[in-house]
């Protein structure tokens, strides 16, 4: 017998010991009641019937006794026992008479005078017994006094009439009535059970099934509602079901919106209790990031710091923090955020590692101690940052190396670059001369080996880490191929690797050159530098510098200096001077490679430094002032040099406040060159004595260069230094060009 599938029948209440159906209880009660009532009624009815029967027999017996007493009086008067007996025997014909006895009036008589049945009970009747009637279970003893016609007591007669027949009838009737009552009770009980089952039990069972379906979340209503209390209950149930459904839909809608909010967050969100056990709420990103390890009930310590991967100290620190944070009231939670871990390296089940930034907050809810974790996956971002930092560090390292090279004489490095490129070119040509797709020949292999070996050593001395590393790799590859049998596949692959390696080396050498040029204050001119004697150059200039022919021009060029050389310290100087004036300045040098004639270059360095100081002291405003005027905090100064047919033209311009025209008069820039003029009220290290511009102009006029000013109030100023014959034109705007 299998388990019932009816949920009602599988109810734990029904299965419990002592369950008794309402119908059964009612049936038992009704049955008992009906049986009792029926029994009582039956008992009363039969009792009355019995009484009637007894009364009838008594009456008959009385009459019979009276007749007997009348007929037996003469016999008793004469104490004629035979006559008495004969009279008594007359009664024998009457089957209701069980026994009869006649007693004389003699009080001493011990035996009756006559008895119908011999051997009967001796106490049956009594002498001189007065009229009496004794009703026993099976008989009635009727005693009648016998008197003479004159009233003389003669004795008594007692007749015992049987009640057996009456009793039999009575019991038969009672039995019949009993069974009828029982049958009636059973019928009533059965009917009652049926009615109760139909009208009460079945609807209740239907209600119970509906309640169970509702508890499982199924949409359900009780149908065919009756018009009675049960129907009213069903109606109330349906109403309750609809209300529950509406409430669930509202809750579902709210939860869906909340979950949607969680899921749109870019962090993985999980919530855990004060013991560190994860709760059900989490964002979709958390499901994806933490996977199945983030099930409800999981320990957040194990999730973030699994024993097999995380160092013990990090687990201990987090556990210690959790112990405090989970117990502190939510309004004091912020005190502890500083002591929470900020990052964790998550080891996922698929072997992937993710770097997470962690943010902990007290989660609002019914109880304190719930904590929300917002984890942001910064793996890619951090990788990029580190890569950029690494490249920046490498770049700085290379720049530092290059500056050291420059400080020690860049010519050596230039020679190295030239030589390395030449040897690389020869190595590449030798490689290409090999049989296409064939293995590397022994001579070519040896030649290549020597080349990369030497290059590696040279690059180490110039701190070219990339070239050194690549060369080492090729060297090892070739060392291994050296022992390979001729024509082997190893020699073919070595050739291919060599080809790719040469291409990479060429790129690295180009990068090294670019870095070298970038580090050089004179730009690409540094690649053309050679070491010559100053005395020799001066002698050449003295002899041939004034000539206007090609030789004169060549000698002049030889003595000329790159503009970048004259401004090589300006970046550091500008930073220092700006710092002292509490200003911020960015300086750009354009035209570093332009060659400035020697006679101009001699004067220009000091002039440019003076103009730069002026720009910082007078032109560039304080940062807060610049912001007020809608300018960037950092002021810009541009120092540029251009080559023209007449000579070089130099400009120093800034985006500062421009010249204060009130000091000179409107557009009266000539006044600025007058000795003693200064727009500074108090002189300081940077400026203010007012002799600068005039001295500058005089300085340069000697060598045929003029100085002019351009300024626009609030927007900036420019100082132009150009050859006297240069046609003035609006070569530049008043503001520094963006570089």
């Amino acid at each position: 017998m299998g388990q019932s599938t009816d949920p009602v029948k599988r109810s734990p209440v029904r299965a419990a010991k002592g369950f008794v159906s309402v119908a059964s209880r009612l049936a038992v009660v009704i049955f008992t009641l009906v049986v009792a009532v029926s029994a009582a009624v039956a008992f009363e009815l039969t009792r009355r019937e019995e009484g009637h029967l007894i009364d009838s027999k008594r009456l008959a017996g009385t009459m019979l006794t009276e007749l007997l007493s009348s007929s037996i009086a003469p016999a008793l008067d004469f104490a004629d026992a035979d006559a008495v007996r004969a009279s008594l025997e007359m009664l024998a014909k009457n089957r209701d008479v069980v026994d009869a006895v006649a007693w004389s009036a003699d009080p001493t008589a011990r035996e009756p005078l006559g008895r119908l049945r011999s051997g009967g009970n001796a106490s049956f009747g009594a002498p001189n017994g007065g009229p009496s009637m004794v009703v026993a279970t099976d008989y009635i003893d009727i005693t009648h006094a016998v008197t003479s016609p004159v009233g003389k007591p003669l004795g008594s007669v007692t007749v015992r009439v049987s009640l057996a027949e009456e009793r039999a009838v009575f019991f038969a009737t009672r039995k019949r009535i009993f069974w009828l009552a029982f049958a009636l009770s059973a019928l009533v009980a059965a009917l009652l059970i049926g009615v109760v089952r139909r009208t009460i039990i079945s609807p209740l069972e239907a209600l119970e099934r509906a309640a169970r379906r509702l508890s499982r979340g199924e949409l359900t209503e009780v149908e065919n509602l009756r018009r009675d209390e049960i129907g009213s209950l069903g109606y109330a149930f349906n109403h309750m079901g609809r209300a529950i459904r509406e409430r669930e839909e509202r809750i579902y809608s709210v939860n869906t919106r909340l979950q949607g909010l969680l899921d749109t967050m870019r962090q993985a969100i999980i919530v855990f209790d004060g013991d560190g056990r994860l709760e059900r709420e989490r964002s979709r990103l958390a499901e994806q990031l933490f996977g199945s390890a983030s099930g409800e009930g999981t320990s957040v310590v194990d999730l973030l710091y699994p024993t097999e991967h995380a160092p013990g100290v990090e687990r201990d620190a987090f556990r210690a923090w959790l112990g405090v944070a989970g117990a502190v009231p939510s309004e004091r939670f912020d005190e502890l955020t500083e002591l929470a871990p900020k990052e964790v390296q998550l080891h996922r089940a698929d072997g992937d590692h993710r770097l997470l930034e962690l943010e902990f907050r007290a989660a609002a809810g019914e109880a304190d101690g719930r904590i929300m974790l917002l984890a942001t996956d910064v793996t890619s971002q951090r990788r990029l940052e580190r890569s950029a930092e690494a490249r920046e560090r490498e770049h700085r390292k290379q720049l530092a190396a290059m500056r050291r090279l420059l400080a020690g004489g860049g010519q050596v490095f230039v020679r190295f670059l030239t030589s390395a490129r030449e040897r690389l070119g020869r190595a590449e040509r030798r490689l290409e001369s090999q049989v296409p797709l064939g293995p590397l020949e022994p001579e070519a292999l040896e030649s290549a080996f020597r080349f990369v070996h030497t290059l590696r050593a040279e690059s180490r001395s110039f701190d070219l880490g990339g070239v050194e590393e690549l060369s080492l790799g090729l060297e090892l590859e070739l060392a291994g191929a050296r022992h390979a049998p001729p024509g082997s596949a190893l020699l073919v692959s070595a050739r291919e690797k060599l080809r790719a390696g040469y291409h990479a080396l060429a790129t690295l050498l180009d990068e090294a050159e670019s870095l070298f040029v970038e580090s050089s204050p004179i730009g690409r001119r540094v690649l053309e530098q050679v070491t010559v004697s100053r005395g020799d150059v001066e002698e050449l200039v003295k002899r041939y510098g004034m000539r206007s022919d090609d030789l004169g021009r060549l000698v002049s060029r030889l003595a000329a200096r790159p503009f970048g050389e004259l401004t090589s310290t300006f970046a550091d100087d500008a930073a220092r001077w700006a710092g002292k004036a509490h200003k911020r300045v960015e300086i750009s040098i354009l035209g570093r490679e332009v060659l400035v004639p020697a006679r101009v270059a001699e004067r220009l360095s000091g002039v440019l430094a003076h103009l730069l100081r002026n720009a910082i002291a007078h032109g560039i405003e304080l940062p807060e002032r610049r912001v007020e005027h809608g300018k960037p905090e950092v002021g810009r100064i541009e120092v540029s040099c251009r080559e023209t047919a007449q000579g070089v033209a130099i400009r120093v311009s800034d985006d500062g406040a421009g010249f204060d025209s009130s000091a000179f008069g409107e557009n009266n820039w000539e006044a600025a060159f007058a000795a003693g003029v200064s727009t500074r009220k108090t002189p300081d290290e940077l400026g203010g004595f007012g002799v600068g511009l005039g001295a500058v102009r005089a300085e340069l006029k000697d060598v045929g260069y003029l100085v002019t000013l351009q300024s626009e109030s609030g927007r900036g100023a420019s100082v132009l230094i150009a050859p006297a014959g240069l046609v003035p034109e609006p070569l530049w705007s008043t503001n520094p060009s963006s570089s």
Binding site: P311, E314, A317, A320, A340, V344
Partner: protein, 132 residues
């Protein structure tokens, strides 16, 4: 800078010391390094954390710890002593040797930075919980 924790690192390798120092200083910590066990105690004044390599010449990290503890004046606030090792068997004896914990040497500085931060957090939590 004065408020930043002071970390003392004791290791016989100058290269390792230099690397750890530069990485931890990048995080804003004040770092003092020494390859010499003799006289190392003078660096402990004001130190929050001391990191000790187990394999030192002629002695173990445990010996170093004992000598440092003995040298630290009782009036000074005792720093936390952490062992730095890649050997799991050594980690197991660290507690018995008297270390407050162990930093696992995974070969990368990032891991050490995280562990140092964790150790300092533990110290702050203990200080917070200690009765005033």
């Amino acid at each position: 800078m004065v408020d930043q924790p002071l970390i003392v690192v004791i290791d016989d390798s100058e290269i390792i010391l230099e690397r750890i120092k530069s990485r931890l200083e990048l995080e804003g910590y004040r770092v003092v390094t020494t390859a010499q066990t003799v006289g190392a105690a003078r660096h402990l004044k004001g130190a929050n954390l001391v990191i000790i390599d187990w394999h030192m010449p002629g002695m173990t990290g445990g010996d170093v710890l004992d000598s440092l503890r003995g040298a630290v004046a009782s009036s000074l606030k005792r720093p936390d002593f952490y062992l730095y090792t890649s050997d799991p068997t050594v980690s197991a004896v660290a507690k018995n040797a008297g270390f407050d914990g162990t930093f696992v040497n995974k070969g990368d500085d990032e891991s050490l930075v995280q562990q140092v931060a964790a150790a300092l957090r533990i110290a702050k939590l203990k200080a917070r919980a200690a009765p005033t």
